[in-house]
Amino acid sequence: MADQNGQPLIQARGLVKRFGELVAVDGIDFDLQRGEAFGFLGPNGAGKTSTMRMIGCVSPVTDGTLSVFGLDPARDGVKIRGRLGVVPQLDTLDMELTVRENIVIYGRYFGLPRRQLGERADELLDFVQLTERANDKVEPLSGGMKRRLTIARSLVNDPEVMLLDEPTTGLDPQARHVVWDRLYRLKQSGVTLVLTTHYMDEAEQLCDRLVVMDKGKIAAEGSPRELIERYSTREVVELRFDSNRPEDLSHWTDGNVTRVESLPDRVLLYTDDGDAAAHTLHERGLVPESVLVRRSTLEDVFLHLTGRSLIE
């Protein structure tokens, strides 16, 4: 599904963002098609937000090329931004105004007529389940409600693409699921979603395709399933020991275990058949304190690609 003229909706080639000496985005390429949900996954400081800000035409490209809707952000920022819906990492709601006023005023920035905006605000508040709070001030709303209002506000101009920078960071599980549900509906209605996240479950829930970013570069690209197949095994066995932790686990496992990772608190066995690997351990007489067989997740891929050390 390419755009009318056969171009991808958003295309980057050798995209670079530098802040003085610091290289935030270090020459990345990606193509984004209309209607897909595309994720930038990566640890803090990987360059996700810088990339999003360049797509959102609020941060100039340092080097390389970027086209959004086939337009150049440096020249056509006004036009491009008019077709985007932006949900920034930090809410920029007007605390002094009411929930409804926030949407109407924001719509005015797009030059939408006031009469039309009243109706639009009601629809959007209904969509994010905030109708009852329409005339309340923003300040006392919960984090999840504020996030939903930010999403509603970003939809006021009926955007073709939504840019969501860590849409559920800081929300409790219930609030996250409500947000995911709304985003899923938007995707179904044909809105292209571009999001950054460091939550693996969020990426698995929402993204058709994603890139893993690390230190400003793209470390891997594919669908969540493809990435798991390529960079991890089907299953993972998590072992915890009390005192009998063996130095080397290779005697206790068979050829089905592709990789063994030893962490301070547990040992991970990467294998396509977790039950068989656990059985082998047991047969050979090793009895850990606990054995957990689970499916491989994006988190395994992510940690494999970007490492386990804390990045600050």
Partner: protein, 258 residues
Amino acid sequence: MTSIALALRPLEFFFAQYRRVWRGTAVTSVVTPIVYLLALGVGLGVFVDRSTDLPEGISYLEFVAPGLLAATAMQIATFESSWPVLSAIKWDRQYHAMLATPLRVGDILIGHQTFIAARLLMIATVYLAVITAFGAVNYPLGILAIPVAVLVGVSFATPIAAWAAHTETEVSFVAIFRFVILPMFLFSGTFFPTTSLPAPLEAIAYATPLWHGVTLCRQLTLGDVELQSALLHVLYLVACAAVGLTLALITYRRRLVL
């Protein structure tokens, strides 16, 4: 889409925000001039008028009222473009919300300054009405003191906004009020003619935009305008506003476009 249309869009936000506090400010903007004019124009004026030092037999009330009008415009403008600008960048981040829409940095700056000018227009109008009630305005020329007061305000609002977009903390705003605005308020001809200042201070007073504003407002409300000097005062104020606007565009861009 023309630039002017884009720059008018943020206005609605600032007015919506202002609607929440307008009652308080409306009362202040009527009461403040009354209090000042009673205390200075009428109260202090009784003593001043006895000394009859003022030119051409005008009363102290007539002398001080236009000065207060210009000085008030300066204070309101300085306040409106210090804390609110930094807040829109740093605390409430409304500028960032605007930048995610078709609005550009220049539109946001012009929009905010236009709002400030509109506020100044309201305040100057009320102030002049109060002065008129005290019988200290000569019409029709006096009406022009309103746009001049707005211009005085804008000539402060733009450079202060330039500074607010540059600074990291609000600490300097208090210093600006204490060491720039207050001395100007006291020594730029608002309360007494600058000719009674020592020569070096007199020269400094002439360099301040407020002195030009006070002098021009006074000529207008007294109905005694010297066209050539009036034009020079206007030019000086316009120049200050234009330099401030240029600087603000630079600091806004540096702060908001990363």
